[in-house]
Subunit: 409 residues, 2 copies
């Protein structure tokens, strides 16, 4: 399969982009859905922000357009670049804080827009922080969590549901929800919808406005390659901008932050989702990742991501490796990853990492392999499967060193 | 006064530390209370985090102790380094999110610890975000804001007050509250206390545990020199660790984040203040600033800061500059800054900036000069006053270019 892989790489229109990223020698990186690889341009950009903008520009860099910078506009500027990837208008997306904090803001916003309804409907086994933010509001007495199994979500609406909160591509299985159908179901029940695009944005296109989504959040450090803990983004449909109200009403979300008024007056539109001062170094790195992903283009990335995962499955089949696939077998119904269930998934994952094939393990028994299409080659698929075959067939994973559990992100 | 200044610099035990910071040529930087200067070591450290830990280590850097890193522990590790500067135990401080978000968490926590009480007492004209976070909780129906003038705070308690929230050193005037007396007054009224140390931490010592404070927050990007928008820190007295409950209950604050449970179980102690994934690049720069400030020592910094501001006032007097000082004239009652009221403060500030003397303006009429003692010299004081005298005496500030108002941080 290696020859075939090399042929596919040769014909791949995105092949040249791999050189725009730093990838360590001897590593096949199948964890870009946890932390995206480093765009080479981020090295120089962050250095310039530290030495030039911070060191030389000092406080002036918040605004000084003569220095070619203006940190104060980073949240809007990067948001506007993310917007076309998710079917949003530039004015509908802002970069701020973390996915978690943005979930809290938007769940709260939904509750104020649906007075008399307290239920937040979500999926059993959704990414934990999505559920934990509902629970935080539940502890405050403001929300009531309702969880339904994946296939029962559409039947779980009633007049108490204020918001449907789902992760578009499931972090563990990679299964993708039907965004249009579920948005529609929520609206028919009088509820709003908040899509978590953490495993979507930058890997595949979605069209939030085409499906009529109300809110979305997404992660900066996975497919957008924004760096460890990069800030997150949030989307609010333009029709809700006037009524949007959220409790993390910090000074950066004020209509006139530098008037230093005692009374909070929200800034227009999504700007009111800002809370405290943005973490500029992290945000600057994110911009480089977003620029690069935008240059490659999410449509092309999605096409390649599907081809990569299909080829990976072919390689498995070619080597007669029978692993239980928990991701949908139809590539149109999954995100840019493949997840396999195995009772020894942890040890197999560790053995692969020792060979330089970095995937990740998700409790209790999932081996999760992400196919970030911006920098992976078909050759990486063939080689990863070769390593996987060797790990399984030799029993290498049984070594003690691969069976000592520690905290793993 | 310049000779005298140079004498003082020659005798200053902290004089050598100035070289550990980058300061642009021709700049006298009196805005370290807005954004601290760049520690030279941060350049290399951030570069290493970007190229080595992110680029080469990739996802492994969250935990990999063999690489000498472990991003997952940064919030606790940096918190432990800040703790001795503010009279806290290492286990009582954590670095996370922004001052604003941490205020929201701790105000919420106080409300749950004082059931039946909804009033958050604060100061008229406190830093806006402190008030806006109270107002955010008020909009949720959970809190009620009560503001009192500075001198009437101690009389504003009653049985409805759950929490007293004050900024120890006022951002605009530099006036310092009597932390011990007000903490005591709050406790006598059955209320808790949350101190905002944004203009305190890294410039002067405070002893939170000696005064029995319950909570505190502080800023990473001012006197701690953590870089633009650096993450903030939060303190919770050990006696409250068991009962601490806050609504931004994100996955990083879970007892077992990587167990991916559907149900939130708070991590022990201050760890439960974590919400989303920390912004590692920004946090790494903060650590360098904290290390450097810790090395210099806040006691010595405070001594020098008082001497700097006293010398500045002497220089003013020597040049017969009569400006209305709104900061306390007694150095023991103010922080590391001097603020002056002038109807043309904006234009004067701009004229000074054009001369390389960077202070800041605070609406509507305050010229605020910060004396970050880690990198300022007595010579800077003398020279800044010379520039100020020239700006005032020549009427230079009246130029059109200095009177066009734009957003200023």
């Amino acid at each position: 399969m290696l020859d075939r892989a090399r042929e596919l790489d040769g014909a791949d229109p995105l092949d040249g982009f791999r050189d725009r990223f730093t990838l360590p020698d001897g590593v096949i990186y199948l964890d870009g859905n946890s932390l995206g690889a480093l765009p080479k341009a981020a090295v120089e950009r962050v250095h310039q922000v530290v030495t030039g903008e911070w060191g030389e520009g000092l406080i002036r860099s918040w605004n000084a357009s003569d220095l070619g910078v203006g940190w104060i506009n980073l949240p809007q500027r990067i948001g506007a670049k993310i917007a076309p990837m998710i079917g949003a208008r530039a004015s509908e997306v802002i970069v701020a804080d973390s996915v978690s904090a943005n979930l809290f803001k938007l769940i709260s916003a939904a509750l104020t827009m649906r007075p008399g309804r307290k239920v937040i409907l979500s999926e059993l086994g959704n990414f934990p922080t999505d559920l934990y933010m509902i629970q935080g509001l539940q502890e405050q007495g403001l929300a009531e969590q309702r969880l339904a199994a994946r296939e029962q979500i559409a039947d779980a609406f009633d007049d108490d549901v204020a918001l449907l909160l789902l992760t578009h591509v499931h972090y563990k299985s990679g299964a993708m929800h039907d965004m249009a159908a579920l948005t529609n179901a929520a609206h028919e029940a009088g509820a709003l919808v908040l899509w978590d695009l953490s495993h979507t944005g930058g890997a595949m296109p979605v069209d939030l406005n085409a499906v009529g989504a109300d809110f979305a959040v997404g992660c900066g450090y996975k497919y957008l390659c924004g760096g460890p803990g990069a800030p997150a983004y949030a989307f609010v449909a333009g029709r809700h901008h006037e009524t949007l109200c959220q409790p993390l009403s910090g000074w950066m979300g004020h209509a006139r932050p530098f008037a230093f008024d005692d009374a909070y007056i929200p800034a227009p539109g999504v700007d009111r989702l800002l809370c405290g001062t943005p973490q500029v170094l992290s945000m600057s790195a994110l911009e480089v990742g977003v620029d690069l992903i935008a240059e490659i283009g999410v449509d092309r990335l999605y096409t390649k991501s599907q081809a990569l995962s299909e080829f990976f499955l072919e390689c498995l089949s070619d080597r007669d490796i029978a692993l239980e696939l928990v991701s949908p077998s139809d590539s149109i119904r999954r995100g840019s990853q493949l997840s396999f269930r195995h009772e020894n998934a942890y040890a197999i994952c560790q053995a692969l990492i020792a060979r330089g094939v970095i995937g990740d393990f998700r409790d209790p028994d999932i081996l999760r392999l992400g196919f970030a299409p911006a920098y992976l080659r078909f050759e990486d698929m063939a080689e990863a499967v070769r390593h996987l075959a060797e790990v399984l067939q030799t029993g290498e994973w049984q070594r003690d060193e691969f069976n000592q559990r520690a905290a793993v992100t």
